[in-house]
Every structure is written in C-alpha cells, then in structure tokens.
Symmetry: C2
C-alpha cells in the first residue's frame, strides 16, 4: 500500500485493520450477491462494499458516528424535492459530482473530438425552461447587476463548422445569489432560457454578469460544511447545456475570471478552459458587458481514438 505515492498523507490501515477484525467478513457480504445480478452492478457493489468496509475498519467507526451519518442522509432525503436535491449537494461538497464529471469528460476526450470541457449540472437545472428567440433577454425584474450580451457559435468539434439548430440552455442565479426556484421574489423562469442556433450556428442572449453565491446551507450539506470549517461559496458562473441531435450533449459552466472563489469553489467544479472574460461593451443600450464564447460539440458515434 505504501507504493501509492500520489495520495500524500494517506495512511491506508486496511491491511492491518483486516488482520485485527474478521478477515472473511467483507468477502462473505460480497459473495451473497446472486447469479442474476448484472456484471456491472456486481462490480460496482463489490467495490463499494469493500471501500465502505475498509473505511469503517481503518477508522474504527463507532455506532454513534455511523448513526449520525444515517441521520444526515435521512435528513437530506426528506429535504429533497423537484426543486432541490440535498443528497446531490452532499456529493458535490465532497467533490464527487466533479470527479464523475471529470471521468466522463476524460473518457469522451480519448476520442479526438475536443468538445468544450464539461462541468457539473448542479441541482438547479429545470427541464422546462422557456424557449426564447436569439438576442432575447433572460433577466426579468432584476434591477441591479451588470447586463451582459452573451453570444457565440456552436461548432462541430471535428469539422469546426457551425452547427445550425443546436439548443443552448442557459441558467444563472440572480444578483442575490438565488435561482428563481429558491426565491419567492423572482418570477418563474427568471434568468433561464433555451435558444436555438441560426443557420450560421449563432446564439445570443442578454443575461447578467453572474454573482458569487453560497450553495444552500440550511440543510445537511450546510451542516457538514460548517463541521468541516468550510465556506459554502461558489465562484460566479453561468450554467450551459448545449445539445443537438446527432451530437453528444455538453453540460458545463463558464466562470468569471475576476471571481475570488475561482481557486476555492465549494463544489470543486472550475476548469481553466471554462474561465472567461467579461469585456466592456459600448454602443449597446441593452448591455454594458460582452461575453463571447463558442462551444464545441462532438458528433455522436464518431470515435477517433488517439492511440
């Protein structure tokens, strides 16, 4: 186990712990799995059981500690609904959603498609955002903030040609740090919209320069952050999903280069290629800033392996 030089500070007590506790127990639990279990679930659950048991043995987990975790998960389940997913948020603050996103992106990047980097979906996406015409405004009833003209193209990552008729789904928090479904004072679907690229692959909309905000901390995720002596803040960002039939969808976030939490995101979602500059814009009465960003999407089913 000591060969694992990368995991700095990691003292894996698994072997020693296993000699102290029943060395057959974990395999016995894994072996209870029946023959009709799918190979994938057998692999996942075998690995999960081994890690959970090693975790318990290495730390000599107490009944009280385990029950505190059970209570926290039950609390998260009860608090979750169609507008909020607290179990997902618990995963986010331990970096799991970002890691799964990295895994997904790395696997896709092993083809040569070079799509735009992905970032986590987060818990505030809504499937039913309104369809708007290009150059529409998604800001309703928010009178502070810096209005921004966000525009660019959707491009095929293989041919580099514009993709007409692609959907660009945008959502962002308001200047008070809340998404519309969290905030009774915002109109429904405020700061959300779906846009379709024109024949030149163009999309454009008026939005706000995004604002730093905390993840919700009135539930178990906030409790855990507090216990870990961590802040709940996320760097300012705009959520985007780009999709088009025949292409792999891209779920991502773009981040304001000037945000102080870029290096210290409470859910660990920032990637360098997703950091953008909001530039001053003059001569447009509808916006004071401009953000130009092109997204690359990879054709479905194409597989141009690098090696």
């Amino acid at each position: 186990m000591a060969t694992n030089g990368q995991t700095n500070g990691h003292t894996n007590g698994g072997v020693a712990a296993e000699s102290r506790f029943d060395p057959t127990f974990t395999q016995k639990v894994i072996d209870a799995t029946g023959p009709k279990c799918t190979p994938r679930l057998r692999k996942l659950m075998g690995s999960l059981i081994r890690h959970v048991h090693d975790f318990a043995r290495e730390n000599e987990l107490t009944v009280e500690e385990w029950m505190q975790a059970v209570d926290m998960l039950n609390w998260a389940g009860k608090m979750s609904d169609d507008k909020r997913n607290e179990t997902q948020l618990l995963c986010d603050i331990i970096g799991l959603e970002s890691l799964v996103d990295e895994i997904t992106f790395k696997l896709a990047a092993e083809t040569d498609d070079a799509a735009t980097a992905s970032a986590i979906l987060g818990p505030f996406f809504r499937h039913d955002a309104p369809i708007l015409k290009n150059d529409s405004c998604i800001v309703h009833g928010v009178d502070d903030g810096e209005s921004t003209y966000m525009h660019g193209k959707i491009l095929d990552s293989v041919t580099k040609k514009p993709v007409a008729g692609a959907w660009v789904d945008i959502w962002q928090a308001s200047t008070n740090g809340m998404y519309e479904q969290q905030d009774p004072n915002q109109v429904e679907f405020n700061l959300r919209g779906k846009f379709k690229t024109d024949e030149n692959g163009y999309y454009g909309l008026y939005c706000l320069r995004p604002t730093t905000y905390p993840v919700p901390y009135d539930g178990p995720a906030g409790k855990l952050l507090d216990l870990l002596d961590r802040h709940p803040h996320r760097p300012a960002h705009i959520h985007v999903i780009v999709q088009k039939d025949g292409f792999k969808p891209v779920t991502t976030q773009i981040f304001d280069r000037k945000d102080r939490y870029l290096v210290d995101d409470s859910v660990f979602a920032v990637k360098d290629s997703l950091i953008v500059d909001f530039k001053p814009l003059s001569g447009n009465p509808k916006a004071v800033l401009e953000l130009e960003y092109d997204f690359f999407i990879a054709p479905q089913g194409e597989s141009h392996k690098r090696e």
Copy 2:
C-alpha cells in the same frame, strides 16, 4: 496493493486510475477542510473522501450510475420515519451495521470483561416498551407460534456474580414476520417488554419461538436486494438489550439453531455464541418450549487489558 492477499478477487485499480485522472484532485478536496474542524471528523472525512473518489475512479462511475444512487438515497430518506429507518436498512444489507458492531465489540473485548457478544440493534427497537413483571407474557393476540419460557440470569462478566436490578429489554417479530409497528393487526407493544432482574439476577418471560422473516423490501433496500439477486430473509431471532447503571450496555440478538438462514442472514448479524437451542418443556401449561440464556455485562470503566 497486490500484497493484500486477504481481499480475494479484489483488483484495486486505484493507482492506475489515479494516473489516468487528475492526481491532485482528491487531496485538493481534503485540503479544503478548515482549521476548526475536529481532528476526528478531519480523519473520518479525509478517509471517506479518499475511498469515495477511489471507488469512482476504479469503476469509472458514470453520471447516470451516480444519480441512480442519489435517487435511491433520497428515496430512503423520504421513506424513513420514527417507525422505520430505510437508510439504516441499506447499510445493513451491505453489512455495515454488523461490521460497526464487530468493531465496537472487538474494542470492548480487548479488556478481559468477556461480556455477551453484541449484535445489531436493527430498525425496530422502541424506547418506550412497557415495563413488565418477571414471568409475564409479551404475547398478545397471536394464537399460532410456539410459546416459550425464556429465562436466565444477568451476570457481572468480571465477578461472575448475579446483577440485581438490571434491565432486560426484549422485542421480537410475530409469527407473520412483522413487528407490531409494521402491522396494523397487532396491538401496540405486542411482543415487547422490559424486565428487571430480581435480587438473584433472575429474569424470565413468556415469548414466542421466533420466526424467520424478510427485512422490509418495499423500499430502496428491497430494490437493491432484488438488483443484487439476494433474498431479504433473516434467521429467526429475539432482540435483547441488557443494561444496568455502572455497566456497559449489551445490545444483541439470539438466534434459533434450527433456522435455515443462520448461514445466510440478509443483514449478516449472526455470531456463533448467540445461537441457542429451544428445548421441549413439559408440565408448564403456559409454554411448550424453554430457552435458558444468561447474559454477561461488563462493569463500566474497568479496563483489564489482556496484553
């Protein structure tokens, strides 16, 4: 990692996976923990984050698989209440409660107190069971089943002397496999009772020979068992908690030697020393079987280290 011969069949892909994915990510998440976090929580969460991340990397966990797990945990939280704990049950079917119980018992057994082996509490304990006189019956309105006279002594595990005034808390499922709080047809507190040992350390009660039953499988734990191609059955058992001021409480279960699920408990709770024989009893109109079992409890604070 290959040195770990005990974990048969375990191909730990952690190192290889870490070289493929960002090798700094996990440490970055761990290092976000602030200085005011307690040392114990820092250790637990550091270890948990490492195991969860290794699990995700080793299995190249997909977004869909992770979200299925999130949905299952939210479902468990929503289903849990003061009469049912589905997250606890999910832990039970992957052996976690039994493992934590083993850890607790092993740590206690490193003193020479030799208390009765523990077993998991399970989700059906109620704090408010009625106090009954010795030799009372806990069976109400159940007319099948084999009535059993269960009796014995509570003994000090150090002096081997009887402990007067100890509390023995007993609960069991009915012959239909359900605890009273699961079953609208049972009277409240059926098959539950608290008994106090007399001046000779004696306890006695009339109960039922316990019946094999399935853990509840109408929720996420049942769904997971089904996906794993596993049965939900538990070997027949009686739950017991023994406690007395000045002694460490013992939470345990005693199991019927004749049960077919002794070697195949869905929650992995059986220990050899907890397997008992129900013997024919004659000349007692109130019972057809007898179960004699003494429990040993260890004095609090005494620490007789073996080494």
